[in-house]
Symmetry: D3
Subunit: 242 residues, 6 copies
């Protein structure tokens, strides 16, 4: 096994704009504060998430918001632009995901759990799982990115709204960066109205409740919860969460 | 949350003609008897289920049988006509399922379990899960039905033959409607010979055995067993506890 | 099966004073508001839960606080007085628990989960499970209470602090009674200092966070979460499905 | 590993008279028919199982019935006589169970599942698990039976009424011996009235329903279902069910 | 149920050349030694598994190695030639898998577990599951093989490297054929260098470690571990592992 | 939360002499090499583990061997002397375990898994779980040790022979200390003959196989595998394995 580099590359892959803000940007902010490189990938453009705004216009708004959020911690944003609500673990989207992983060449990957309650989330999780082995194989046809390192990354699955079907067994203390998380979520201004209308939910209050609840379990003020994927030789002996 | 309407719409989605009769029409009959609206969707035409009768002829027979069964309780029949044994959770069938859900706009959905032993059953279950979020989003491309309500339905997974991999945690007492269930299953006359030939099974006797066994567990004469899908804000509070 | 009576008897069994307040008194308050009879059993005297106050003095304080809390909703308090931290599923404590169940003769039992993180909680749960069958058998030796009804009660397991190892699949909307829950928890004044000192926890803030988090999952403002015990003929048919 | 002997000793351990008849005597009858030696151990005297008949009288009745049942297949009956409803995994009952195992020195053990819904069933299962290692250790104090072979037996957990919490993964075809099972269950005449009164259950009809339901799953007319205990070197490579 | 034939047909389906050698050829060798017919299907050509050798050349090498390995035990090799790392449970590959199953018409199927850590392994497992019901249905469109027997085969899932997420509950003693397993794995000469380079693994040493570890659990020198698929009437009463 | 001290106290609790050597002394050796304090507690005297040597003599032999092993890494040995094969989670042994925990006042606890295949292992695990909360409560009656810190330790469950029912999700690389582990296990000379006789096992070869197999999964030469107990505020945010 090659040694773990001093400066890690951290890739977070969410299905929609705001998924990462709700579930893992506190951890990303801690990585960034420790000097590691952070890449945020938003797999779909979020263009179906509003009953009033039409898809093309919405995608543009959502991308600007995601860029503003990433900028808060100096993260790079990857934006494959898949149609919202139509994530499938098929050949075409597999190729997109392999390229996302190759472009980031990560030491740690944070993404949705395969038990998440939203189909796009589940399929993004499946695509990450499916692409992990392939990012380092040089002869795969029809990829736009060259192969990167083989087999280096650890995968952590992140929480979901309400913790449906999810029992974290790793917690990251995000108390020192809770204001950063609030600021990043606040960048997604267009989502607050949609969530209020579709699900009667105040997203900011929801985020604070969940971070506080996970903190209660973990023994700190605010926390984010994760489960690690167990896989063959995926660096199981090294613990790299901050 | 909008209030639960007094007259519910109940949608049952089975993969093949006779799946609903075997696993949930007792519950549907009770809903119908209580004045609720019942929609029965049979996702495939069942056209591969016989070693002698050719597919087109068989599909026509199976549809007439399904219509006769639905008529017994005054249910509406939806019949997308997917090729039997070829259910896939892909884009095309996703669109079909979203339209099924939109046409029914249900308060309760009964469908196969994701742990069922038959691939068509599993994929129908997956398609229902995948389409739930999307039935209420108005800008999805290429749908034939307009968006319906967002996020109202509860999903219950139904039993399978022999209870393979399935431990119900909800039971419905179908003793008062067992004759209705028998009559509806009896409408599927063409299936009895095929099941006897392919699986050496007397379907009617099998149905009575299973209903009686679930009744033993539940504490009544005949019962149907279900497991509820836990999901974010899918009406989790509407239950028998106060 | 005898018919469910119009006025139910609800028994909640907690290991320590304040366990019921933290995890289920919202549900009890709703039962009480609906006219049902509520019995709160606190199995230990809570006499070990303070590093300064000596056991006998502490037990007296804790009992007064529990009585004040029960009085808020007009509940009857049962107080077997077992030594705190020394709950065991042995013969002696089994007899105590059978007598608790016989005295209450409940239609519904709320208690700790067998997967709880505290040993006293686990053993109380086990004692309830072990005593359920026996409350209705008249010839058991050495009981002080006569046998009550056989096999009528449904058992629900309640949440724990931080939701460790616990995924609720039943939720009760306690929004209308959240002030009652606050008032009942507030009766346990002697606990707030101990929890702050031993676990650095503000109990009232913790209770609100957990009730709000469970509400987010359930789709209401405040909720309490439960899992139902599946058991042979324990009234499984009495549910919201028809 | 010593070779498996041609004539096996089969030990079934139930908590109450009739438990073995309901859940595993079909399998025992097949073993007996194949020339193996069968020992039936009933751990309690069943003396609490009637609301009218007093314990001592009931124990005598139950023992005669168990003896009659065992005689049908030429099985030996072991009767430790523990008080019904008071099975505990404590030192005293551990010693009793070790002696039961030593007396039988079995190649195969059938007993209740640790997930059973009745506390006596669970504790008998736990006592069997706890005693397995010890039956072959010669210096254990206060046993009445000498040590037998070390580590030879495979343990199978049996079904329960209604299959609560139990998914069999081994099935034995008992179609050829279903009349024997009926006859053995019929020996327990005193139980039929008690079950009808306490649980409104016709035991014989219940037995046939369950055997038929498990047969449907297994692909035969009547079956009994089991789960095997996985344990270190407990003969995992040898399959000895008939 | 038709009787089990005296000479069984055993089909093993692996995703890549060497998967069967690592996880189940000991069992295949025992079947072959007992006179049964063995068919080894390698679903992909393994053409992506080397960072230096180009895909077409690699596929040719891998096929020759697989043929040499199969020849050791006189097994027939099926080679659908799917592109390595691009297994998908879609319509096209379903058709290929149905034809593989029809060509073999097996009594027993050994394949990857659905919980395996490699996506190709998982999807091969899913394709086998999905194709099982369909191999016996004569009217499926676009197949190249005629329908074979319906519903006869039992499916066993095999181990993976390191036993990630896999707890076997069936073990086959492969001590008598360990040299055969070594010889068959040794046929895959081109893999040893790739595994050493990509995963720093000595495949032969790894195989011996795993076989020995499973043997420790099973109670023999060398073993292979499996989990059986539970499914409706898939011959659950018959145990056919050697 | 108080800060984690620079020099940790590590407590390992095994049921029998040699349990720690087989399952966790590699990890202990790494802790010791890093300058932490290591305490090894052997709960029983191992006095039943031989068919020839009588209990009192055997206990003396086993204790000398355990002392020699602990001395290799400079660990302190605790020896409560419970009778082998008679571990029970009752009041008397709870008190012993609380005193063990108080004497060590640990930051990390390694012990058996509650799913272990040996009853003594399971009950030691349960006693550790049950005693964790109580070690810091000063008024518990009849303890010989004064209360220590409240709520500081993390609990890790260790592997068992053959990995029965155990899937590690934490691995410690013990390659640098494998010779130390060998030396410590070698101190238990009296066990090698007993294991060979009772279970036909070469303990040293078994240890190397298991350490190598876990290393394969983890991605190193030799590893020990663990699962962490999730519990309320038990320091979940701090990862302290080396």
């Amino acid at each position: 096994m090659p040694a773990t580099p001093a400066r890690l590359r951290i890739l977070a892959v969410g299905a929609h704009p705001d998924d990462l803000e709700l579930n893992c940007v506190g951890t990303l902010a801690r990585y960034a504060a420790d000097g590691h490189e952070v890449i945020m990938a938003v797999f779909t453009s979020g263009n179906m998430g509003d009953v009033h705004i039409l898809p093309d216009e919405l995608a543009a708004v959502r991308r600007r918001e995601a860029e503003a959020s990433a900028a808060v911690i100096g993260a790079r944003l990857l934006w494959p632009g898949v149609t919202d609500e139509l994530v499938f673990p098929d050949l075409q989207q597999r190729r997109l995901m392999i390229d996302v992983l190759r472009e980031a060449d990560p030491d740690v990957i944070l993404t949705h759990s395969p038990t998440d309650y939203h189909p796009d989330h589940r399929y993004v999780s499946q695509l990450v799982f499916d692409s992990y082995f392939q990012k380092g194989l040089p002869h795969l046809p029809d990829q736009t990115q060259p192969a990167c390192r083989f087999g280096q990354a650890q995968v952590y699955y992140m929480d979901n709204l309400g913790g449906i079907g999810f029992l974290p067994n790793e917690y990251v203390d995000i108390t020192p960066v809770i204001e950063t998380k609030k600021q990043m979520l606040g960048c997604h201004a267009s989502q607050f109205q949609a969530m209020a209308e579709l699900a009667e939910t105040d997203m900011m209050e929801m985020m604070f409740t969940q971070a506080r609840f996970r903190g209660l379990a973990a023994g700190c003020r605010y926390a984010e919860g994760f489960c690690r994927l167990d896989a063959y030789q995926r660096g199981l002996t090294r613990r790299v969460l901050p």
